[in-house]
Symmetry: none
Subunit: 234 residues, 2 copies
């Protein structure tokens, strides 16, 4: 008998194990599950309980249920984790994002930048973004100068927003996205400079705010033939 004290209901426990099986590759796309009665017997639960599990997986889009035929796995992409603040993925979907810091400097905010923050200065961070190793975008990030005096390259090991939280105590509460057409800036690495005849890169402007106001404004130039914008709202 399955214990259920202080833990998830049985039907959700089963759901979680199945989700793990799917993400671990033990259950692959298109795979047909055993008949519900058999499966319930193997698991030692009632058919009705198993059906609640399967309904839950169907709701999450992980399972296709065909009356008279069977239950079929729908392999699905990633759970959101590190990707929470990164809204680009490969055209083909997914891809692991990495960031390579090109430069960090503290400068007076330029005129073109929309007004934000309390300081006249800002930290200018330029990064090359790769998705699955492929150069996909460049970023120019302006963090308001009031949050810290200096940022070192070593501080931004991988996740900029992890640094914001753990070192600056800065939580992102709001965000605003714009997508426009535009030209890549002159400091762009050669690897990213567009070839003649290709589509004009997009500019994805994102401003991050906490409750006290806007803390950061970033511009991302990405090549629409390589990456696409994705946004998942809770």
């Amino acid at each position: 008998m399955r214990s259920s004290k202080g833990s998830l209901p049985v039907y959700l426990q089963i759901a979680e194990t199945l989700v793990r099986d799917i993400t671990a590759g033990r259950l692959i796309d298109g795979e047909k599950l055993p008949p519900e009665r058999d499966m319930a017997n193997e698991l030692g639960i009632a058919v009705g309980t198993l059906r609640k599990t399967l309904a839950e997986l169907h709701n999450r889009g992980l399972l296709e249920r065909i009356q008279g035929s069977g239950n079929y796995i729908r392999a699905v992409t990633d759970p959101q984790s590190v990707y929470a603040m990164f809204r680009l993925e490969l055209i083909s979907g997914g891809g692991f994002p990495t960031a390579e810091v090109l430069s960090i400097s503290r400068e007076v905010k330029p005129e073109e930048l929309p007004p934000f923050g309390t300081s006249k200065e800002g930290h200018r961070i330029r990064r090359l973004r790769r998705i699955a190793g492929k150069a996909a975008a460049i970023e120019e990030i302006w963090l308001d100068g009031s949050y810290t005096n200096e940022i070192e390259v070593g501080d931004l090991s991988e996740s900029l927003y992890l640094y914001y939280r753990t070192r600056l105590g800065l939580w992102i509460a709001k965000a605003e996205d714009h997508i426009d057409l535009g030209h890549v800036p002159d400091w762009s690495p050669d690897t990213f400079n567009p070839k003649c005849g290709e589509p004009i890169p997009h500019v994805l402007r994102i401003s991050y705010s906490h409750e006290g106001g806007t803390a950061e404004i970033s511009h991302t130039w990405y090549d629409p033939s390589v990456a696409r914008y994705v946004n998942r709202l809770r």
Copy 2:
């Protein structure tokens, strides 16, 4: 005894009557339903069947279920404006969005569409979107077939999502956006067909979900030289 030949399952029949009661104002916001056993008795159905009905309403976001307390109608009129679900504006900023229905039909979902919903069929709605009177985008919307049997052009006077809420009892809880490059479909009005040499239109794919799963998937083709994507996250 309720007949169920050739028609909806009992638990969905009850759901439909409750949705009508809500949209007609016979059940108002915050109202507490009778205990499940009493309600099932009045309706002449089993508690388990009624619970399936209530789960369905909860899925659509119409009902709040609190263990130990009761079931409460949740029919709040949306505080967000008409623009809440539209993420395009003029390049210059702003602009009043309107929608013109081009066609509505009920069809078997095509293969290319990502799997969503519980029905094999869907409602296919094609619209021309104008911003400040200027043709800016075309939409193809697929609403899962399980929510209603038929949609008439007259039903969608102005806001599609108002129709969803008031007529289908469907509340949108989650959304997912994608932006890709793509070609306009062949049914696009002449007013929107791209001229030679202009940038390729963008495809903005949006899926809308309530708590139980995805209800609608829409594709929006917009001209990036006319409109831009904007998203303001709370």
